[in-house]
C-alpha cells in the first residue's frame, strides 16, 4: 500500500460534460487535485508535466483510444510506472481482463456515482502493492 494518500489525479476524457462532473466529484467530494486532459494525443506531455499519482483513462476517444494511450504510456519513460484506471461505458469483461493483464490497476463502469467515485479510486489506490 502506498504511503502517500491519493490526492493528485490526471483524467483523460474527450467528453466535456463528464470531464466537469469528474472534476467536481474529485475536487468537491474527494478533495483531490485534478488535471483533466481532453485531447488524448496531448495526454502524455500533460501527465509528465502534472506528475499525478494515478491516471484515469476513458476507453473510447477520438484520435487515440484509451487502450492505445495506455500502451503508449507503458512504452514512455517517466509515465510507464503510473497506475492507470479505466473508466468505460463499453468494455467487455474480456477487454477489462486483458487490460489488467497489461497492468491497468482498475476499471470503473459508466455511469459511475460521483458521490462514490473518490472512494472507489482510494480503494484501488490502497490496494496497490
Amino acid at each position: 500500500m502506498p504511503a502517500q494518500p491519493l490526492d493528485r489525479i490526471c483524467y483523460v476524457e474527450d467528453d466535456e460534460d463528464i470531464q466537469r462532473i469528474v472534476r467536481m466529484s474529485l475536487e468537491r467530494v474527494g478533495k483531490m487535485t485534478v488535471e483533466v486532459v481532453g485531447d488524448p494525443l496531448m495526454a502524455i506531455d500533460r501527465i509528465r508535466a502534472f506528475k499525478p499519482q494515478l491516471v484515469m483513462l476513458d476507453w473510447m476517444m477520438p484520435g487515440l483510444d484509451g487502450p492505445a494511450l495506455f500502451a503508449k504510456m507503458r512504452a514512455t519513460a517517466d509515465v510507464n510506472e503510473l497506475p492507470v484506471v479505466f473508466i468505460t461505458a463499453k468494455a467487455s469483461q474480456r477487454d477489462l481482463d486483458d487490460l489488467r493483464a497489461m497492468g491497468a490497476v482498475g476499471a470503473i463502469s459508466k455511469p459511475f456515482s460521483p458521490k462514490d467515485l473518490p472512494d472507489q479510486l482510494r480503494a484501488i489506490w490502497h490496494a496497490l502493492p
Binding site: D17, V22, K90
Partner: protein, 589 residues
C-alpha cells in the same frame, strides 16, 4: 431317372408326418375288417358244413363257437375303432389290438387244420388244405398294409398245419411240410413288398397334402403381402410426390449429391440461389462449382468424413460462389441416405443463404455496442450531475428544486436499469454472457445484498431482514450476477410490499441444494400472470408498473442467470398473504 428328382421325392416323402402315415395305415387295416369278418363267417360255415361227417363233431361245434366268439370280438374291435375320437394319437394302440385279433383269427384256423386235417378223409383234407391256402392268400389283401400283422395271421394258420403235415407219417405230406414254410416266406415277402408300396404311397399322399396346405398358406400370405406391398407402394409414391413438392417449393436450396460429390439433382431454390439451371448443375462436382477455390480442400475433407461416418452434418457454414462470381455465406445441412447394406446411395444437401442474417447479426451487435456506449455516456452526465446536486456538495438547494432533481435522478436511474437489462437479455440470448463462477459463501452474498438494497427499500418504507440462521454453505456461482439476482428479488419485494412491512430473506438446505427465499407482503401474483411471470417484459399490470417502476425484464434475466448456474427459480404463495420468490443452487462440496 434323374437322381436329383429321385432324391427330391425321397426328401418329399420324408417330409410327411409319420404319425399321420401310421394313422392312415391303421384306417386302411380297419376298413378291411368287415370284409375279413364276413369272409371268415362264410368260409367257417362252409368248413363246418363240409367237415360235419368227421369223428370230432363236438370239437367242430366248439371250433364253430370259437369262430363266432372271435367274430364278435373283432366286430367289437372294429366298432370301437370307428367310434374312437383320436384315431391319430391312438393309432399305435389300435394297430396292436388288430395284430392280436389277426393272430387269434389265424390261430383259430391253425387249430382247425391241426384238429380236422388228421381226422378226415382225403377229400376233406384237400378241402382243408385248399381253404387254408385261400385264407393265407386272401390275408395278403386284408393285412398287406402291415406285413408283421400278416406274418402273425399266416403263422397262426400255417405253423400248426405244417406241424400236422410234418408229423402225419406220410412222405407226400412230409414233403409238403418242407414247401409250406417256403410258401409262408414268399407270402410274407409279398406282404412286405406291398407294405412298403403302401407306406410309400401314404407318405407321398401326406407329403403332397402338406405341400398343398403349405402352398395354400403361402398363397394366402403372398396375397396379403401383395396387398400390403401395393399399399406401401402407394404410400411411397405419395411421400415421393410430397417430397418432390417440398423440394420444388422450398425456399431452401436442396441438392442431391452422389457419394463422390457430383450433383444428381437441384431444386428451383438452388437454381435461383446459385444462378445455374438444374440441367447445368447436374453431373458437376459440387465443391468445384459451388465453393471458392480457397475452401475446396477443407470442404472436401469434411465431405470424405461424412461419407465415411455416414452421419448427418448440420449447421456447416461456408462461403459459396454464385455463377456471377458473388460470394455469399451459406449454412448447410448434409444428410447421407444409406441403404440396408450400409452403402451411401446419395447425400441430400440443404443450403440457406445467411449472408443477410449475418449482416443483421453484425448490425445488431454494433447497435448494442452503440446503445451501450452512446446511451450510457449521456446518462453518466445526467445522473452524475443530479447526484452531485442532490448530494449537497454544491451547497444548499431549494427544497422544490431538490425534489425535482431527485425525481430526475431516479428516472435517469430507471432508464439506466432498462438499458442494462436490455443489454443483459441480448447477451444471454446471443450466448455471449460469460459467467465467472467460483466457490463462495452464499450467506455472505445474501448479507451483502441486504446491505446494498436497504437504501432502496427505505424509499418504500420497507425493512429488509434475514430470518433465522444463514447456514455457512458454499455454492459455485458468479458473485456479481448472483448479487444482481438478489437485488432484483429484493427490489421487487420492497416495491410491492406495503409501507411498514418487512421483506424476509431466508436460507434453507435440502438434499444437495440450498434455497434462498425472499418473502414479501404484497398483493400476491394474479392467477392469469403466474405462467408468464418469468417471461420477457412481464408485468402483471402496466399501470402498476409505471407507478412502481421496473422494466419487466428483471425476473426473466434472473431465471436465465440462475439456470446458467445450474439452479432453479420459482415462487410460492405465503400463508397470510404475499409471495416468496426463491432460487435454488447446488451446494459446492
Amino acid at each position: 431317372m434323374d437322381p436329383s428328382n429321385a432324391s427330391a421325392r425321397i426328401s418329399l416323402r420324408q417330409s410327411a408326418d409319420p404319425r399321420l402315415v401310421l394313422a392312415d395305415r391303421v384306417r386302411q387295416l380297419y376298413s378291411q375288417m368287415p370284409t375279413a369278418i364276413i369272409s371268415t363267417l362264410i368260409v367257417s360255415a362252409l368248413a363246418v358244413y363240409e367237415l360235419r361227417e368227421g369223428r370230432y363233431i363236438e370239437i367242430l361245434w366248439f371250433w364253430g363257437g370259437l369262430v363266432v366268439m372271435l367274430t364278435l370280438m373283432r366286430t367289437v374291435l372294429y366298432l370301437g375303432y370307428r367310434r374312437s375320437t383320436d384315431k391319430v394319437g391312438d393309432a399305435a394302440q389300435w394297430l396292436r389290438w388288430l395284430g392280436i385279433s389277426a393272430l387269434a383269427a389265424g390261430a383259430t384256423w391253425g387249430f382247425a387244420a391241426a384238429v380236422f386235417f388228421p381226422s378226415h378223409a382225403d377229400q376233406q383234407q384237400v378241402f382243408i388244405a385248399f381253404l387254408l391256402a385261400v385264407l393265407v392268400g386272401g390275408g395278403i389283401a386284408i393285412y398287406a398294409v402291415s406285413w408283421p400283422i400278416y406274418a402273425l395271421f399266416a403263422a397262426g394258420i400255417l405253423f400248426p398245419f405244417n406241424y400236422v403235415l410234418a408229423t402225419f407219417g406220410n412222405r407226400l405230406f412230409a414233403e409238403i411240410a418242407f414247401i409250406v414254410p417256403v410258401f409262408y416266406v414268399i407270402n410274407v415277402g409279398i406282404a412286405y413288398r406291398l407294405n412298403r408300396v403302401f407306406n410309400s404311397g401314404y407318405r407321398l399322399r401326406h407329403a403332397y397334402g402338406k405341400l398343398t396346405d403349405d402352398y395354400s398358406a403361402l398363397n394366402q400370405r403372398l396375397e396379403r403381402q401383395l396387398v400390403e406391398l401395393d399399399e406401401a407402394r402407394r404410400q411411397v409414391e405419395a411421400s415421393g410426390r410430397k417430397l418432390a413438392l417440398f423440394a420444388e417449393r422450398s425456399p431452401i436450396a436442396v441438392f442431391e449429391f452422389d457419394a463422390h460429390g457430383s450433383i444428381l439433382s437441384a431444386n428451383p431454390a438452388a437454381e435461383t440461389l446459385f444462378g445455374y439451371s438444374a440441367a447445368e448443375l447436374i453431373g458437376r462436382t459440387g465443391t468445384e462449382t459451388l465453393f471458392p477455390s480457397s475452401d475446396r480442400n477443407w470442404i472436401g475433407e469434411r465431405w470424405s468424413d461424412l461419407i465415411r461416418k455416414r452421419e448427418p452434418l448440420f449447421g456447416l457454414r461456408t462461403e459459396a460462389t454464385r455463377r456471377d462470381g458473388a460470394t455469399i455465406t451459406c449454412e448447410w445441412s448434409l444428410t447421407p441416405l444409406v441403404n440396408a447394406e450400409n452403402r451411401v446411395i446419395s447425400v441430400i444437401v440443404q443450403g440457406r443463404d445467411i449472408t443477410q442474417q449475418l449482416e443483421a447479426e453484425r448490425m445488431k451487435q454494433e447497435f448494442t455496442s452503440t446503445l451501450s456506449h452512446e446511451l450510457r455516456t449521456p446518462l453518466t452526465s445526467i445522473i452524475g450531475s443530479l447526484q452531485l446536486i442532490n448530494s449537497g456538495v454544491l451547497g444548499d438547494i431549494d427544497k422544490d428544486v431538490l425534489e425535482l432533481t431527485s425525481i430526475a435522478e431516479r428516472n435517469g436511474q430507471r432508464l439506466l436499469d432498462l438499458i442494462n437489462d436490455i443489454l443483459d437479455i441480448e447477451k444471454i440470448e446471443s450466448g455471449k454472457l460469460a459467467l465467472f463462477s467460483e466457490p463462495m459463501l452464499l450467506a455472505d452474498m445474501v448479507t451483502e445484498s441486504l446491505a446494498l438494497n436497504r437504501g432502496f427499500a427505505d424509499r418504500f418504507k420497507v425493512r429488509l431482514a434475514a430470518t433465522g440462521e444463514l447456514p455457512p454453505v458454499k455454492v459455485n456461482a458468479d458473485r456479481k450476477r448472483l448479487l444482481q439476482v438478489m437485488t432484483n428479488l429484493l427490489s421487487n419485494a420492497a416495491k410491492f410490499s406495503p409501507e411498514g412491512s418487512t421483506v424476509q430473506v431466508s436460507m434453507e438446505m435440502a438434499d444437495g441444494t440450498v434455497r434462498v427465499g425472499v418473502g414479501d407482503n404484497g398483493p400476491g401474483i394474479p392467477e392469469s400472470f403466474r405462467n408468464r411471470i418469468f417471461g420477457r417484459f412481464a408485468q402483471a399490470d402496466m399501470s402498476y408498473t409505471r407507478q412502481k417502476g421496473g422494466t419487466g425484464l428483471g425476473l426473466s434475466i434472473c431465471k436465465r442467470l440462475i439456470e446458467m448456474m445450474d439452479g432453479k427459480i420459482g415462487f410460492s404463495d405465503r400463508s397470510g398473504g404475499g409471495t416468496t420468490f426463491w432460487f435454488e443452487l447446488p451446494t459446492h462440496r
